[in-house]
């Protein structure tokens, strides 16, 4: 009898406990790939970083809402000189294994960051950094090899790892089971299936509200990602195709979040001396710009989800965007006139390289442009490339004379514009004046002067027309109505600070 009563009490206690835990909230996020490593400085792929940075935090971060640079594990920085930076760290923060987050941890992480054999993915960003020294437990001084205007970008990519644990398990093991200061803690990881994180109850800051468990699901098929959102299996789905995005927008219990991407879609018009073609003539390149109806492409191929480029590769929120520029209007008559002026009254023939499956709608955009060019007499011979081969040719400067590409460098005007510098590995333009502007802008620490330099560079680029300016891309995310305040950056990055979940 007593035995039975005890059993009953245990059962009801268990029942209560279960009901209690049922109010715990699990959020499921579907991305394209399973992370290769959860150490954020292991790769630059956003799928890896989104998951990894929920556990391991950086010195600063850039909030998708308004692209605002904010303190995180550091509270601020000051330039002592053009090549010396003082960084102040946040006090009272610990890693979830008890190790303190302080100058020692930052020095340890910094030294790994600048070691290109350990961190090859960030080699370009870490190049300007020379050394670091401790001033006190919560202040460090970083020395640079040269003045570096995109300093903020670099500081927001320096992720801080616990030295004790890191030295104990090593780089690879850390990436499989990381420990950090972030709002979530690693729980379990069934590769290619699900990655589970639980809430860090001792998180130093304001973590996400109402989320006790975060589950990451790699779903490679974009239609399956959309389907899972519709069935309620996922609360957040990344990288949705535009058709699915429209469908999701129409449903009352789901939201579609369009995010202007950092990716700038353009047609390479090679003017290099060794790439002999009519495109070496600036008038011809300008004619090509007049020949393409960019608004029509955005309207009909992208369902309106494309950002018109104002005749430049910098986006409106970026430093150096030139508000006085406009894109070449769609004017096929003008195009034909210019071609005749350049000596091609009957047009000419051209090879046109296009990737298939590398970007959304890549073939469709290429076919549309090919049709528009044919209208003004430019016959194109389309060569379709598989993504791997396309990337190889991009790297080897073989994408000439005409090719479709979507370039997405990190968010700094220098990184965006220096892709058109004559020394850049796959630049298809050599212009001394543009080079000069880029070189000056790269070293100019004064923000206003820098902005003016890039505005001039944009005006020059518009005239020289080294590319056909097409459009800025848009990324689509879907969320269920359980999720509030979700937003993402144009580089595919999203965070859980300030995100809340109901139920």
């Amino acid at each position: 009898m007593k035995h039975a009563v005890r059993k009953l009490l245990l059962a009801s206690a268990l029942g209560v406990a279960l009901i209690g835990s049922a109010s715990a909230s699990t959020l499921v996020v579907a991305q394209n790939f399973d992370p290769q490593t959860l150490w954020p400085n292991g790769t630059t792929a956003s799928d890896n970083l989104n998951a990894g940075s929920a556990i391991v935090e950086a010195l600063f971060w850039v909030d998708p809402n308004g692209e605002v640079f904010k303190p995180l594990l550091a509270t601020g920085y000051e330039l002592e000189s053009d090549t010396s930076v003082i960084v102040r760290l946040r006090e009272g923060v610990s890693f979830t294994n008890g190790e303190p987050m302080n100058a020692d941890a930052v020095i340890h992480s910094f030294n790994i960051f600048i070691d290109t054999s350990k961190t090859p993915a960030y080699a370009r960003v870490s190049d300007p950094f020379e050394s670091i020294e401790k001033i006190d437990d919560y202040t460090v001084r970083m020395r640079l090899k040269y003045p570096y205007p995109p300093l903020r970008l670099a500081l927001s990519q320096m992720y801080i790892t616990p030295p004790g644990y890191w030295n104990e398990v090593g780089l690879e093991a850390f990436g499989l089971r990381p420990i950090g200061t972030g709002p979530f803690v690693f729980e379990s990881w069934a590769r290619d299936d699900r990655l589970v994180m639980s809430l860090n109850a001792d998180y130093w800051g304001e973590g996400p509200d109402g989320i006790t468990e975060l589950v990451w699901r790699p779903v490679p098929d974009e239609i399956a990602r959309a389907a899972g959102l519709m069935t309620g299996e996922f609360d957040i789905a990344a990288s949705l195709p535009v058709a699915a995005a429209l469908e999701i927008d129409a449903r009352p219990d789901l939201s579609m979040v369009p995010v202007p991407s950092y990716r700038i879609y353009q047609m390479i018009l090679s003017s290099l001396e060794e790439h002999v073609s009519p495109l070496q003539d600036r008038t011809v390149r300008q004619a090509m710009n007049y020949a393409v109806d960019k608004d029509a492409i955005i309207e009909y191929l992208l369902f309106g989800y494309g950002v018109p480029l104002r005749g430049q590769v910098l986006r409106e929120p970026q430093l150096g965007f030139n508000p006085d520029l406009e894109d070449y209007p769609f004017d096929p008559d003008r195009a034909r006139a210019l071609l005749a002026e350049a000596g091609y009254p009957n047009g000419f023939n051209l090879d046109f390289k296009c990737p298939s499956g590398r970007y959304a709608q890549d073939r469709e955009v290429c076919e549309a442009v090919a049709g528009m060019l044919a209208d003004v007499g430019v016959q194109t011979n389309m060569i379709i490339l598989e993504p791997g081969e396309f990337l190889r040719q991009l790297r080897a400067s073989e994408l000439w004379p005409l090719a479709y590409v979507g370039l997405a460098p990190q968010d700094d005007p220098d990184l965006q514009v220096s892709q058109y510098h004559s020394t850049w590995r796959y630049s298809y333009i050599r212009n001394a004046e543009l080079d000069r502007l880029i070189d000056t802008g790269r070293q100019e620490m004064d923000v206003e002067k820098r902005a003016e330099i890039y505005r001039d560079a944009m005006a020059l680029m518009r005239e020289e027309a080294p590319i056909i300016f097409l459009f800025g891309g848009v990324d689509f995310y879907g969320t269920s109505d359980r999720v509030a305040n979700f937003n993402a950056r144009g580089d595919g990055r999203f965070f859980f600070y300030g995100v809340s979940a109901t139920r």
Partner: protein, 305 residues
């Protein structure tokens, strides 16, 4: 029998070497993986370091030689993307692929063989035509399309099954059905044509005249005699399934070997491609050997020395 098995296994060694060489050759011909794994703006000295570390700067034959030496010790190298041993990555996912393959095969056999038998027995009746029509449909419909349709009907609309991933038996149903449809078609047709042959034989008539029940004649005698070609088909198909069915695994986000293989191919992750190809070859050879041994069980006339 044991000597037969030993001799067969010995004959597989040149097969494996050949496969290793061809897969090595083809993947390396496809291009340099460095550009796909490191971002395009990586400085040159970092790229060179990466290539040196992974032996990519050596001449082709030197790379192959080094690879063979290590492979003999079970080391296929580290994945270029994951920094984990390639073979380990494959083994992690083998269980998932095996689970899916077994479920699909089970479904295909359970439905396909009876369907084939009945179709043969009731030749040229509506049942026979029905079986043949459904088989044709199954072979003709691409698995990608069928998968997406099933997801939208049974997951999104009816909410009976999850839309993807692996977990409970419910996650297994839709992908197994997609795979089974293809296999089923093949098994049903093979069973049917073999049964048609056998049902005309003298010994079937003899069995009937001996007074054996029809069920025993058809399922006991005829099927057993017709079974060898069907077993061959089952064996071959099972071997293929174990290699990982890329499209189905991708559509249903099933964490199997096929998905790993295709992602590795796109990324030119040589060690993983090598490991997958090699493992697939081993599995295929073993499955074929088992099928051959089963012949002896089924048909006492076949003996191996």
């Amino acid at each position: 029998m044991l000597r037969y098995v030993a001799r067969r296994l010995l004959l597989t060694l040149p097969v494996f070497v050949g496969i290793l060489f061809i897969s090595f050759l083809l993947t390396h011909l496809s291009g340099d993986p460095t550009d796909l794994i490191l971002t395009p703006d990586t400085p040159d000295h970092v790229r060179e370091e990466f290539r040196r570390r992974h032996g990519l700067d050596q001449p082709f034959l030197v790379q192959f030689y080094q690879f063979c030496i290590r492979a003999l010790q079970g080391d296929f190298g580290n994945s270029l993307r994951f920094n984990q041993p390639a073979l380990e990555l494959v083994f992690e996912r083998l269980g998932a692929t095996a689970e899916l393959a077994l479920a699909a095969m089970f479904l295909a056999i359970a439905v396909g063989i009876p369907a084939g038998v009945v179709a043969a027995y009731r030749r040229n009746t509506p049942i026979d035509l029905g079986v043949r029509a459904v088989s044709l449909f199954g072979l003709a419909v691409p698995s990608f399309y069928l998968g997406v349709v099933l997801i939208f009907v049974f997951a999104v609309w009816l909410r009976w099954f999850p839309s993807g991933g692996r977990g409970t038996w419910m996650h297994l149903v839709l992908p197994a059905v997609v795979l089974a449809v293809d296999q089923l078609a093949l098994i049903a047709r093979t069973t049917r044509s073999c049964m048609l042959d056998v049902l005309n034989q003298d010994y079937v008539r003899t069995a009937r005249s001996k007074g054996l029940g029809e069920g025993w004649v058809v399922w006991g005698h005829a099927l057993r005699n017709a079974f060898i070609p069907v077993l061959t088909v089952i064996g071959l198909q099972f071997g293929i399934l174990l290699g990982g069915v890329v499209v189905t695994e991708t559509v249903f986000s099933w964490p199997g070997v096929g998905r790993l293989a295709v992602q590795a191919i796109y990324a030119r992750d040589f060690p993983v491609v090598q490991a997958t190809v090699f493992l697939f070859a081993v599995i295929f050879v073993i499955v074929n050997l088992i099928v051959d041994l089963l012949y002896a069980v089924l048909d006492p006339r076949i003996g191996y020395k």
